[in-house]
Symmetry: C2
Subunit: 294 residues, 2 copies
DNA sequence: AAATTTATCTGACTAAAGTCAGCTATCATG
DNA sequence: CATGATAGCTGACTTTAGTCAGATAAATTT
């Protein structure tokens, strides 16, 4: 009776109701659900018609008609893709953008209502939602290079620092640590990689370079919701690829003794321990890996 | 960009797809979704038409037509409620039961597929799903008296023992503890209360009586997914009501020093500490509360 | 016993969603 | 430049879902 599938069904029932209520709140603007969803999927920046068809898995005829409907309402305009004039791109008009913003507000209001019902434990609920969403969409986690000063990168770093502060016996204060400059984490010197799942950052790793043949791995972090998915391995492998492309032949890193899963990972990925190569106050172990040619 | 509402929306997107896929899997049996859902809601034991209307929030006309459809397929029969012949009750036929079982298997298969995709962390995913489902349906948590030997009660007790084993400095072995007999936890001597949310037990408390005017509170447990909802208070208040109804005037309990939130709760609910009244090996604190007349 | 309420059903509708064959414009390829 | 593939559109459908005003029969109230 309290089997895994019974629990999953209970989850489905609970969430179906919530989603249904959300859908109904989308209905308050005199537009059927399909059209509202389409408009929101087009978004403020516009979208390709083909991408929309895949995203919403709509029949091409149905999508066409919905687009015509939105166009007649004056909410969007469509134009051929200049690169391939068979394709078309849908853009919201000013009115369309206002309408999208109105739907966003409805959705935010529901989210706020949901969170305010949580006397406490709002953080726990959000964390649980992240974990479920990540588990359901794990096949769509992408790893990409971003600038270390974007909001996504800052979010990762803040979460990383917060976790170090919780785990290190001595706490963690980033100002006393050897914090790399953004310059060394961008091409052509280095790189900053982030794992994203539908917009939410789930992990990061920084490759710090200085133009020489030796680089450094820093800031490897995986969101609690995404642990156990092999994401750390994926980020480290990708960092090695980036390093090779930048002409780096040897990678180093330092780490704290409390980060046992990271240390185990470094061993598994072929790193070996070396004497201290810096004076990082929070470091207890130093590792090195020579990169093979390809 | 990584606001609470953005995270909730991401959750909604991820889950909408999963629910959509589940719905589509319901479509593989040549029956529209509405009819399939209705059949599954009727369930193997049958259901009242009015209850179905409320549950699925269907228009009375639409429900009627769907029921006729299932009847023509030979999957259900409807008959008037003997107690009030205006009402009708729908029962599945043998074929209907087989069809319901087939839908259950589809749903279980999806659940299995989901869990097997989790390399590890299946438990964490289930726990997160429980937490989300509980948060979304918290207004529908019921507290009721059940027999201490039902599967629901056993589930609660096993979870309770497992948690004690994790938390007590000395571990916990139920065979060395003063385990009450089921006899003392059932009317007319005592009572066993469980908090249920859509079938999942979220908490319990036992009232152990021996026929005298002094009873004992035992086995207060709240599922991790349900903490912070005020459920412990609700269970304790209900246990007091049960005690009064059984003629108990004074309640006692013992507890371990590591269960700090429970100890704080006992103080808030008007219990006061007394000298040891038993030889429970895991107890550090003993409490008493005199029950007022009503 | 008559009037009212309640639970369900029926018929006649509308709206929304989805399907499919065939059309047109554009691009890619030999 | 002819051929075939691709992306999207249009028209003509069907299915599913949902609405609503009575009708009917049983229960309840007056």
């Amino acid at each position: 009776m309290i089997s895994a599938s019974a629990r999953i069904r209970r989850f489905n029932r609970a969430v179906t109701q919530e989603i249904g209520a959300l859908d109904n709140s989308y209905l308050g603007r005199g537009r059927p659900l399909g059209a509202a969803r389409l408009l929101c999927s087009i978004g403020p920046d516009g979208a390709e018609v083909g991408a929309l068809r895949d995203l919403l898995s709509l029949d091409s005829g149905l999508l066409s008609r919905l687009l015509r409907g939105l166009e007649e309402e004056g909410l969007i305009v469509t134009e051929p893709d200049p690169a391939d004039r068979r394709r078309r791109i849908a853009h919201p008009t000013a009115r369309g953008k206002r309408e999208i913003a109105a739907y966003d507000r409805l959705s935010d209001a529901r989210a706020d209502a949901l969170m305010s019902r949580q006397s406490r434990g709002a953080d726990a609920l959000l964390a649980a939602m992240d974990l479920v969403a990540t588990a359901l969409t794990r096949h769509r986690i992408t790893v990409s290079r971003i600038d270390p000063e974007t909001p996504e990168a800052r979010y990762c770093l803040n979460e990383y620092y917060a976790e170090l502060a919780r785990r290190f016996e001595t706490g963690f204060d980033v100002t006393t640590s050897l914090d790399p400059e953004a310059l060394n984490l961008r091409p052509p010197l280095g790189s900053f990689l982030v794992a994203l799942s539908d917009g939410l950052p789930l992990g990061c790793v920084a490759l710090k370079g200085n133009g020489s043949e030796t680089g450094e791995i820093k800031r490897l972090w995986i969101a609690p919701a995404a642990r156990g998915l092999g994401l750390a391995r994926r980020l480290m492998k990708r960092a090695e690829t980036e390093a090779r492309a930048l002409g780096i032949r040897t990678l180093r890193l330092d780490t704290n003794r409390t980060l046992t899963e990271a240390i185990a990972l470094y061993h598994r990925l072929g790193w070996h321990e070396i004497p201290a190569f810096n004076t990082e106050p929070y470091a207890h172990h130093w590792f090195e890996k020579r990169l093979s040619e390809h």
